[in-house]
Symmetry: C2
Subunit: 409 residues, 2 copies
C-alpha cells in the first residue's frame, strides 16, 4: 500500500479554476448548460488533460467520456467521476470536483510511478444537472441501461432543441458502445450541497444512501367571496386550505422524524387580493426520505389529510405526481471503505444520506458504489456563491485516492 501518498492541492484547485473560466459568470460561478458551446469547450479542456495524463480516452454515443488507466491485470476498472455540466447559475465545484479530483488522483499515481492491479477510470457523464434537458442524471442513466439512447436523443430541451441534435452539433458522441466499459466499483467525490457537515464540524461524509424523492402538486378550487361580507361558515377558501396543508406538511415531517424532510416551495393563489377569499390555490409538496416505506407513509398521510380537508372546506382537489424516485442504498462495504480511508487519513467522518441526486445513484444499479462528501460553506450550491475550502477539497480527494487504491489493489 501507499499510505503516505497525497494529492497536490494547488494542482487540483488550478484545474477547478481553469475549468470554471469556461462559461464564467460575473461575480463568480459559471454557466455550462449541457451540450452547449460552453460544454463543448469544457469537454475539450478536460479531454485534453486526460490525454496529457496518458489516459486512454473514449466516449459513447451519449457523450459520456471515459479516461482509462490500465492496471497490471485486465478486467473491469475501478471508476470515479461525475459531470462537468452546470445549472444556469452554477458554482465551479458541483460535479467538476468529482472529475478533476479523479484526474488529480491519476496525476498523483503517475508521479509516484504506481500501477494498480485493476484498471482505473475517470468518467464524466452527460447532462447530470437536467437544467436544459429533463431528466437529470441522463448520461449515467443511459450508461446503466435505465433509458435507451434513442429516447435520450429524442428529448427536447427548454430551448426546443433535442439532445441528439445537440450531441451531434458539438461532436460529443463517440464510437464506444453505450454501457462499456463494465465497472468493478464506483466512487464519486462531491460537495455536500447542504449544511450538515459544516454545522457538525466534520470534514468527510461517507454517503450511505440517496434520499427518495416525491414531488406532489395540488390544485384547490373553492369559491371567491368578499372577505368582509362572507361569514366563515359559508366559505370555500382555497387559499386557506392550501396554507393548512402547508402547515400540516411540517407536522407530518416532524412526526415521521429521522431523515424525513418536506418543503412547500411553490405556492400561488388567485385572485391574490387582500379582501377577496381565494377561489384557487396551486402548490407543490417536496417530500424526501432515505426509507421508502416512510416516504410512502408520508405520501399517504398527506393524501388523506387533503381529502379530509377538501370534504370539510367544500373545495375541489386536483392532484398530480411531478416526480417520484425510490431511495438508493449504497453498498455497505463501499461505505465502510470511505469511512475507513477518512479515519486512516485522520479526518473526522460521518455516515450520512445525500439529499440531492448524483450520477453515483445510477452507477449503484450496476456495481458497488459509494460517495465522498466534503463541506459546502453555508450549504450553498447551484449558486455563484458555492464554495468549499481548499483544505476540504484536498481532504476529499485524498480520501478518493485512498479508496481507489484500496479497490484497485
Amino acid at each position: 500500500m501507499h499510505d503516505a501518498l497525497r494529492i497536490n492541492r494547488q494542482r487540483l484547485i488550478n484545474r477547478l479554476e481553469r475549468l470554471g473560466e469556461i462559461g464564467a459568470l460575473p461575480g463568480g460561478g459559471c454557466c455550462r448548460l449541457a451540450l452547449t458551446e460552453e460544454d463543448r469547450q469544457g469537454r475539450e479542456l478536460v479531454i485534453g488533460w486526460m490525454h496529457e495524463l496518458g489516459l486512454q480516452v473514449s466516449s459513447d454515443a451519449m457523450g459520456n467520456v471515459f479516461g482509462l488507466r490500465p492496471g497490471t491485470e485486465d478486467g473491469p476498472p475501478v471508476m470515479t467521476g461525475s459531470h462537468i455540466d452546470t445549472v444556469r447559475t452554477g458554482g465551479i465545484y458541483d460535479g467538476n470536483l468529482g472529475v478533476l479530483g479523479g484526474l488529480e488522483v491519476i496525476e498523483t499515481l503517475n508521479e509516484a510511478g504506481i500501477v494498480t492491479r485493476r484498471p482505473l477510470c475517470v468518467a464524466f457523464f452527460t447532462n447530470e444537472e437536467g437544467a436544459r434537458f429533463a431528466p437529470d442524471m441522463m448520461g449515467s442513466l443511459v450508461y446503466v441501461g435505465g433509458m435507451s439512447l434513442e429516447d435520450a436523443r429524442a428529448t427536447q430541451g427548454i430551448d426546443d432543441q433535442s439532445v441528439g441534435d445537440c450531441l451531434d452539433a458539438i461532436g460529443a458522441g463517440g464510437e464506444a458502445p453505450v454501457g462499456k466499459p463494465d465497472v468493478h466499483a464506483f466512487v464519486e467525490v462531491h460537495i455536500e450541497q447542504g449544511p450538515v457537515l459544516e454545522e457538525s464540524g466534520i470534514t468527510i461524509g461517507a454517503v450511505e444512501k440517496v434520499q427518495g424523492i416525491s414531488w406532489q402538486e395540488f390544485s384547490f378550487t373553492g369559491i371567491s367571496n368578499h372577505a368582509g361580507t362572507t361569514p366563515m361558515r359559508l366559505r370555500h377558501d382555497a387559499g386557506h386550505a392550501a396554507m393548512a396543508t402547508g402547515a400540516f406538511v411540517r407536522d407530518l415531517v416532524n412526526r415521521i422524524g429521522g431523515d424525513q424532510v418536506g418543503t412547500v416551495g411553490a405556492f400561488d393563489i388567485k385572485p391574490n387580493l387582500v379582501n377577496v377569499v381565494a377561489n384557487h390555490a396551486r402548490f407543490t409538496v417536496d417530500l424526501r426520505n432515505t426509507d421508502n416505506s416512510r416516504l410512502k407513509q408520508a405520501e399517504q398521510e398527506l393524501q388523506a389529510f387533503v381529502e379530509r380537508l377538501a370534504e370539510r372546506e367544500g373545495i375541489e382537489v386536483e392532484h398530480r405526481t411531478l416526480a417520484r424516485f425510490d431511495p438508493v442504498p449504497f453498498d455497505p462495504g463501499m461505505v465502510d471503505r470511505v469511512e475507513a480511508a477518512a479515519q486512516a487519513l485522520g479526518h473526522s467522518v460521518m455516515r450520512m444520506p445525500s439529499g440531492a441526486g448524483h450520477d453515483a445513484q445510477m452507477l449503484a444499479r450496476v456495481c458497488p458504489t459509494s460517495m465522498i462528501f466534503v463541506p459546502s460553506v453555508d450549504g450553498v450550491s447551484h449558486n455563484i456563491n458555492e464554495f468549499t475550502a481548499p483544505e476540504d477539497l484536498e481532504a476529499g480527494t485524498n480520501v478518493l485516492l485512498r479508496v481507489l487504491l484500496d479497490l484497485a489493489e
Copy 2:
C-alpha cells in the same frame, strides 16, 4: 299615515336598467369609475330625473348631489341615498339602488300627493367605491367633515389624475357649501353583497353596525436552501412560516367567534420553486369584527403568534398596517324603525352587521343612521353577475318608503 302606499317595482327596475346602460360591460354589469365621462353621463341622467320629480337639486364642491323635496315645515331633511359610481367590473345594483330607490319613493309620494312634515332629500355621494381614488367613501367623508375638500381634491388616482382636476373636467362640483344641508336622519337601502340573507331565506336586513376592518401585511425573510439537502432543524423557511400564520388565522377566528372573520387573501413566496426552501414570503391578513375590543384582541394575538413563530423559525419579520377602521354602530332607534317597517309590510327581517363599507357609516357621524339590506344572489357583488331579485328590490324600497315617511312625519 299611509300604510297602504307601495312603490312601483317596474319603474324602479326601469331606472336601474337605464342607468346601467351607461358604461355597460359585455355580458352585463357596468363600469362607471368615479369622475370619468361615464360618471358624468350617469350624473346627468340622475339629476335629470331629480328635476323631473320636482326636487330642488344642488351639489357641493365635492360633487355630492342633493335632491330636496320640501316638507310642510322647514328644518333639516330626512335623507336617503348612496352612490352611482361603480368598480371596474361592477353590477347595476350596488349603490344605484340606494339612489334610485330614493327617487322611486319620491315619485310614489308625488303620485299620492303626499307632502311630509319634514323635508326629504335624495343624495348621491362622489367616489364611494374608491376604485379610482383612495380612500373609498370619499364624498360622504368630506360631507361629514372627516376629510378636507383640499385634501380630497389633491388625491391622485390610479391614472395619476387628481380628484380636483377630474371634478372640474366633468363639471361635477357645485355652489352648495360642503356639509350642507344638515340632516335629521339618514337611511340607505343597499344590496347585502354577501350571502347571509339568501342563505337564511330572509328578505330584509336591518343593519345594526358596520364591521371594523384591520388589514395587516407581513413580510417574512428566511434563508433559501435546497429542499433535499437541508435538514428540518437547519431551516429558516419563510414560506412555511407564512402558511403556519395562515392556518393560525383560521384558528384565531374560530376561537374569537361571533362576527369575527379573517382572510389571508394575498400570498406570494420567493423563489417559488418546488425544491427550494423559500427565503421570502409576503402575505396579508384581513380581520373584521363589529366589536372593536375583539378586533383588537385578534390583532394582538396575531402579532404575538408571529413574534413567537419568528423566534422559533429564525426568520425576520416586517409588518405594516394597510388599513384600520373602527366598527361603526348604527342608532338603535333607527335600526328598530327598519325592523318595524319590514315587519309591518310582512317581510321576514333579521338584524345584521354590514361586512362592507357604505356611505351610511360616514353619515352616522352626524345623524341617526341605519341601512336596509336586500339579498344578493350567491352573495356576489363587484362582479357583472351581481343580481338581486325584482321582488327583493321592491321589498327593500317599500321598507325605505315606510321608514322615510315614519321619520318625516
